[in-house]
Amino acid sequence: MSNIVTDGLGKRYGRTVVALEDLTIDVRPGEIFGFLGPNGAGKSTTIRLLLGFLHPTAGQATVLGMDTERESVQIRSRVGYLPGGIALYDSLSGEDLLDYLADLYGRTAPSRGDLLDRFEFSERDLRRPVRDYSRGMRQKIGIVQALQHDPELAILDEPTEGLDPLMQRAFYGILEDLRARGRTIFISSHVLSEVERVCDRVAIIRQGRLATLQDVGALLARRKRNVEMRLAGPAPVLDGVPGVSGVSANDGLLTCQLEGDVRPFLRAIASAPITDLTIEPAHLEEAFLEFYADELGLTAGRDGASRAGQVAASSELPASADTQSATPVGAATASDADQEADR
């Protein structure tokens, strides 16, 4: 049985503002599930529906086999939750805060010590008031409070926000250990490299709608390789070579995209006067944009790669507004929905 199941889940505000529409996903036990999308796409709305903070206007959802509308208290007793941009009780010390939040579960906190060690949290840090914590320390204590009671399911909204690279690595190690112990993790993120690194499967959501749900491996398999070769003479003829697209040659530099079997390409360049050759696998960002190429109205070669390059530079998904102009959207945007939700 899946740990999270949503069936046509939807959330509207009023008649026109659609925050989430017809979301159908399942999260299997023991997997790390990435929930990916630009800011304002509906990720937090989905999480809040799962935890009973919001009431769906369509469809239904179950978490750990329990209905989110009727059994949200029981669900929350078995789930650890890290809200995005977590707010904490600033007047408490770190230790008192963790004690208080663990006591509210009515359970012990068996994982706390290990988590604090991994995040290099000292006894001295724990005795300080939370108001004195840096952003990274607040995020770390937020992760600890979500996982300290060793929940069956962890729902983490933008968990690495504010963590430095070392602490991000420590966090990924924690996730690996949780997976090894059979725990299920649902991560919402707009950081593609993070999802690529840790997740087994990924659902991509955009403007309140599910765009795809795939194994990360399968999504990456869609990717093209970026080829760059420097030439000391005439460029090889690549027109019509299977798997090659987006060929561009200029001043002794040839670039193209390559997908599928590489052997026809290697045969085609075998006799070319190559001085340097780089073949790079595309990251998830590019796979993501290739996936959207049709929908975004981009040509699947250079435009997609160009956009991918821009995205790769920031390693984040483009915000809704970036893609909106290229996409015919009948319903209100998720950004609007979030603004409405805030009201």
Partner: protein, 267 residues
């Protein structure tokens, strides 16, 4: 009700409770002193006609009897302000304040239902109010005993007066909590509760000072706080019943509305 949350709430408010209770204790202590030391002079002053007679009664209180002085202590703006720290300030901020700060979702991520949260905060508010009202009465009794006038009232009626005072502020607090459960931000919740309290207080005071406006008094909750009558032996159950009805209405609103609300991500 959640005992962990109640304990946390108590610990976070105990200093404030101590300060308010201390203030009310001192204020309550002062009223019998004013009566015993200056009551006769005040009466002569009013009888001489220098001060209009309608000013002899502020709310239901006066300084011509111990029960009147205790009543004046209850209805005086100082006592109202101190008691409102919990009935208005704490109640209005209990849920909306957590929501505004973003800590509500940390709290509700735990296995606590919204009704349980409201019930716990209601109990905490009532506890604070009960302590505050007890403090003013203990202060009044101590002041009366210290100046040898305690025999002028029936001390066994003090618990009834305490209950009446608790009911008044419980009614206000339940409105505050209902507002708190209805808004995402502290300011509207606080605004509604302060507005209700000030208008209600104004109607009572205006009616007591200006006979032509006395018809407004029954529309004020403060009108049904009758310390002088209660200490004199008269008990009218309508007032307590009305305050209880208002308190129940506030609780009912919160219990119905709060669980049905959407708690969107804090902006």
């Amino acid at each position: 009700m959640n005992l962990v949350l109640l304990g946390h709430t108590w610990r976070s408010q105990r200093l404030k409770v101590a300060i308010v209770a201390g203030g009310l204790l001192g204020w309550g202590f002062l009223m019998p002193i004013i009566y015993s030391q200056f009551g006769v002079q005040f009466k002569q002053l009013f009888d001489s006609g220098i001060i209009p007679k309608q000013f002899a009664q502020f709310g239901e209180g006066d300084v011509f009897s111990l029960s009147g002085a205790i009543g004046l202590g209850f209805i005086h703006p100082i006592a109202i302000t101190l008691s409102s720290v919990f009935a208005v300030g704490f109640a209005a901020g209990a849920i909306a304040g957590e929501r505004q700060r973003g800590t509500l979702e940390v709290l509700l991520a735990r296995p606590i239902s919204r009704r349980q949260l409201h019930a716990t905060l209601l109990v905490a508010t009532l506890l604070f109010i009960a302590i505050a009202i007890a403090a003013i009465l203990v202060g009044a009794a101590a002041g009366a005993a210290a100046f040898g006038v305690l025999h002028e009232i029936d001390v066994s009626r003090l618990p009834i007066l305490w209950l009446d005072g608790v009911l008044l502020y419980a009614a206000i607090a339940s409105i505050g909590l209902a507002a708190s459960a209805s808004f995402d931000r502290l300011s509207p919740a606080l605004g509604v509760t302060i507005g209700f309290t000030i208008v209600s207080y104004f109607l009572e005071i205006l009616g007591s000072l200006w006979p032509d406006a006395s018809w407004l008094q029954p529309y004020s909750l403060f009108h049904y706080l009758r310390p002088k009558e209660l200490l004199s032996g008269t008990i009218d159950l309508f007032g307590p019943a009305l305050m209880l009805a208002v308190a129940v209405a506030g609780v009912a609103w919160a219990v119905i509305v709060f669980p049905r609300r959407d708690l969107a991500a804090p902006s």
